[in-house]
């Protein structure tokens, strides 16, 4: 049978045959200038054909530690000192002289002196009353240990199991001086089987191995003859910077979808809004604190808004002053056109739903009508990790005959159920333009807690009557901010991140 091998495997086989000895794999890889992994994969191919293989040895490696490496580079301290002394050429030295000469620390200096004395390079005496050193040689020949340490230059380690007796002595000497560190490693030894040693390389048929299929290969049928290199399928691929829709937009679209499934039609309205639609038409008295400058962005330019048709404006005026035709006492004050004409950035999308009531009147529409809006609103607040000056508001209203507070509860339960919150609590609340009013909390399974999520209620008669929506036709409404919910869904802690666009997060976020 003809043996087929890849070309690089054949090359490696040739090399091993030339050597005719077992070799350590990483050494061999270095010698052949190929990657270790490529080599081992080739050795595996040899093993598969019963031509070779590898065995593992556990090995104790001995390396120089940092101090040892310093000695290898700069010489032992005693060598450095004797060199300095011989160069300096004086006949006697005090310890202080030597300290100045060498700049050694006390302990290193002491040991260097002891070593020089042991090597019989110097004599010492206390006869003069002070410890003195007298050089005793003209030159200082290299010691065994100095010669041995240079063997680490060629190969950075010694294999403990392969030391000669003489080498072992020197290793011991280095060890006593604390110049060594040990590391245990597994060594792979590559060998040829007797089969492998016998086989003639010329008898082996080279096998092409390629990484990419080409059009040529497919069309010529070459693909059947080539060996496709296997890939490591478990590692992740290079990063792909794909296009992605923003997570907040995904949440918005999800909510739009829920509204649509409940029969609601989407509406939009102006962001630059009149105080009339933002406040007055919602029965907020003109001296109401929420209208003040520190909550609302007023505009210097444009300065004045147009108002809708006069008779409707006056109907709103009447609700404030005396309740108008809706049976209310009103707020009992003189209502001002000028305050209503002020221009602001809308503080809630209820301004937009209120415009829808005006449209209902103008077009003489018939109930039922269900509309929703998900849009930007603005508050004149300091921006921090939990507050934004502009954010999205979600709002829905139902205009219908004989709709009730219980219907509103049903609507809220259905809506938040579809949002993934089957447990909904509605409690008494207060909003200037709804009566009765509801606070809506939902239970988050994920957080194990109730979240205050929305405000809701039935529009007051003072709000609806000016637009011809009269009992028993009523308007159910609810609204909520989106960002807090989005933070929960997207797992962000800082609300500003939703508009600061950390690209790393946007690239990685799941949805």
């Amino acid at each position: 049978m003809v043996i087929k091998l890849k070309q690089n495997v054949i090359d490696i086989l040739k090399k091993l045959k030339e050597k005719d000895v077992e070799v350590e794999a990483s050494e061999l890889a270095k010698e052949l200038k190929i990657d270790y992994i490529v080599l081992m994969s080739a050795v595996n191919d040899l093993a598969a054909n019963n031509l070779g293989g590898f065995k593992e040895n556990k090995i104790d490696y001995l390396y120089l530690n940092d101090e040892g490496l310093d000695y290898l580079k700069n010489g032992f301290p005693f060598r450095r000192l004797i060199n300095l002394i011989l160069k300096d050429g004086k006949k006697e030295y005090s310890v202080i002289d030597l300290k100045k000469l060498s700049k050694f620390e006390d302990e290193a200096l002491y040991r260097a002196i002891q070593n020089m004395k042991k090597n019989r390079w110097i004599l010492t005496s206390k006869a003069a009353g002070e410890y003195k050193v007298y050089p005793d040689v003209k030159e200082a020949p290299s010691l065994e240990i100095e010669k041995f340490i240079t063997t680490f230059e060629k190969k950075s380690y010694h294999d403990k199991s392969k030391l000669s007796k003489k080498e072992a002595e020197q290793i011991d000497a280095l060890n006593r001086r604390n110049l060594l560190k040990r590391e245990k490693k597994t060594q792979r030894i590559v060998y040829l089987t007797s089969e492998g040693k016998k086989i003639q390389v010329s008898k082996i048929e080279p096998l092409a191995e390629i990484s990419n299929l080409t059009s040529d290969m497919l069309l010529t049928g070459e693909w059947e003859r080539v060996n496709l290199k296997p890939f490591n399928v478990s590692v992740t691929g290079p990063r792909l910077h794909a296009g992605k829709i923003n997570p907040l937009i995904n949440i918005i679209n999800k909510i739009r979808n829920i509204f649509l499934s409940m029969g609601f039609t989407e509406i939009k309205g102006p962001i630059v809004e009149s105080a009339f639609f933002n406040f007055d038409a919602l029965f907020q008295p003109q001296d109401h604190p929420a209208r003040e400058m520190h909550d609302t962005f007023y505009l210097n330019n444009p300065k004045q808004s147009k108002l809708p048709q006069k008779d409707r404006v006056d109907a709103v005026k009447a609700t404030h002053e005396n309740g108008g035709d809706c049976g209310s006492l009103g707020w009992e004050y003189d209502w001002s056109y000028d305050i209503a004409k002020k221009v602001i950035l809308r503080t809630h999308t209820t301004a937009t739903t209120c415009r829808r009531l005006a449209q209902f009147y103008k077009n003489k529409e018939k109930p039922p009508i269900k509309v929703f809006s998900i849009d930007k609103v603005f508050r004149n607040e300091k921006v921090d990790r939990s507050h934004l000056a502009e954010f999205m508001q979600v709002e829905g209203i139902v205009i219908d005959e004989n709709v009730t507070l219980c219907d509103l509860r049903g609507l809220l339960t259905e809506f938040y159920g579809k949002m993934g919150f089957p447990k909904v609590i509605t409690r008494p609340g207060f909003f200037p333009y709804t009566e009765p009013s509801l606070e809506v909390s939902v239970y988050s399974e994920e957080l194990g807690t109730w979240l205050e999520l929305a405000g809701s209620g039935i529009f007051r008669p003072e709000v609806t009557y000016p637009w011809g929506i009269k009992n028993p036709t009523r308007v159910l409404a609810w609204g909520m901010g989106l960002e807090r919910l989005a933070m929960l869904m997207a797992g962000r802690e800082d609300i500003r991140d939703l508009y600061r666009n950390p690209i790393k997060w946007l690239r990685e976020v799941s949805y």
């Binding site: 603005f378 004149n380 507070l405 039935i458 508009y499």
Partner: protein, 565 residues
Amino acid sequence: MPTIELKIERLERLVGKKLDIKELEYDLQWISLDLEDVNEEEKKIKVEYNPNRPDFSSPEGIARALKGYYELELGAPTYEIKPGKIELTVDPIVNQVRPYIVCGVIRNIDLDEDEVATLMNIQEDLHWALGRGRKKVAIGVHDLDKVVPPYRYTAVKPDGCKFRPLQLENLVLTPEEILKEHPKGIEYAHILEGKDVYPMIFDKNGDVLSFPPIINGILTMVTDDTKNLFLDITGTDYNAINYTLNILSTALSDMGAEIESVKVTYEEDGKEIITPNLDLKKWTVSMDYINDYIGLNLNQSEMIKYFKKVRLDAQPAKNKGKIDVWVPAYRVDVMHEVDFVEECAIGYGYVNLPITIREGCIGQYHSIPEFSNRLRTIMIGAKYLEVLNFMLTNSTRHYDFMKRKYKMEDHIQIANPVSKEYDTTRTLLLPGLLETLLFNRSEEKPIRIFEVGEVIEFDLNEETGGAQELHLSAVTYHENADFSEIRSLLDHISTSLGITNDIEVKPTNNPTYLEGRTGEILYRGDSIGIIGEIHPEVILNFNLEFPVAALELNINNLPIEKLLK
């Protein structure tokens, strides 16, 4: 939202029932109170109440509601007012500055430390909720026994009298000096701005009780020894000052004091009023109306019971299907029959309300968000990442950094931003995208991002003076970003929208972009945007370090509705 701190022990004494904090937490929400904070150790809770219920500004007020909720006391609480001899006259001159005043006397007070704190708290909350920062209503509380009736409410010239004010009792000051030097004078001077005379209350001897709405005189300072109080409530709204007096005097009565009336005579027309007036206000409501609004079918005795639970008086009216309801004088939030719908629902318990579903209607999406979504799909197909930026911006970044010229009078100006960061709203998306690049400078390149969103153009033809336009902008940021790359994107967009044959790009100049590498995008001959390489100065203004190629389209100039079909 205003808050109030409640000691459980005091609340128990007022309600007459042992209270468990856990149960209280549950119960309070059904009378529209929200538990903010629990201090188990000191047995205190902090409760948030709605601004339409300033009568909840005292533990006494909350106890009234709780007693109804627990059915310990039903119907409207009753208060006895002893007829008093103390009188006050009103000089017509006050019409020029602060026209209304009502008064009351409270006798035999014996307030402990907590109750004194409550009295301060009520005043503060009422000044805010009903008084609009003392402008509409201001409260004065005096030691009755330090001054001699009858009193007179009048107005004096800014230097028309001198007295020792509270807090600066070592100084004898004129009203004018107080407005300039006294901390309260400085704080509230704006209320009297431009007035020729300042309001003042004197006693029989000409001693000053009060300089409303600024400060009282030292003479009537309330101390531990004070036994009897005189209350003056002045303001610009007659109803609001009466509500304030009623809330204050009923709370003091609940603390164990006696209420005594004061006769106030308006000299102008000789009209005499006796205050406080705690008469209940009668309404007649329709049962059908209320049942239909809530979605219940309550009979008369049930409905009467629920009204009584929320501390209203109620009994069958003469007419069939109607109920007469009496509202306590401290309730400021009843102005329409619909307000009784909520009262009845609270009495019934929101938690007990059935859940009903009304079907009907077929929904439809709005074309702007729909088309925006279509653009998003096109953009992510071109490997662009969607970002969202604020509409609020500032002119320096929005115009100067972009080398764009602008006139203040042609753009939206915010009058009063809390943060200097914002002085206008965006007219382009591109500056936001460049800021996003700056914020993400160190991220792996290439960075390709886009935004679909609205901008606002100043436009006096619009009803409110601002016109919203839908824009699409995209930038590519990396070593080799250039015109041809962004041009390919434009081609991809126009192909995907099916308008390739309607789109044309003509060379143009634009200060934000590099000359010779900028094009004006035309749709059937009308300009709809700009495409090109960003000018190096603009790149450097945004602290960026690679080339940027960009485009911005005004989508409003495309036939959105037609393209959606």
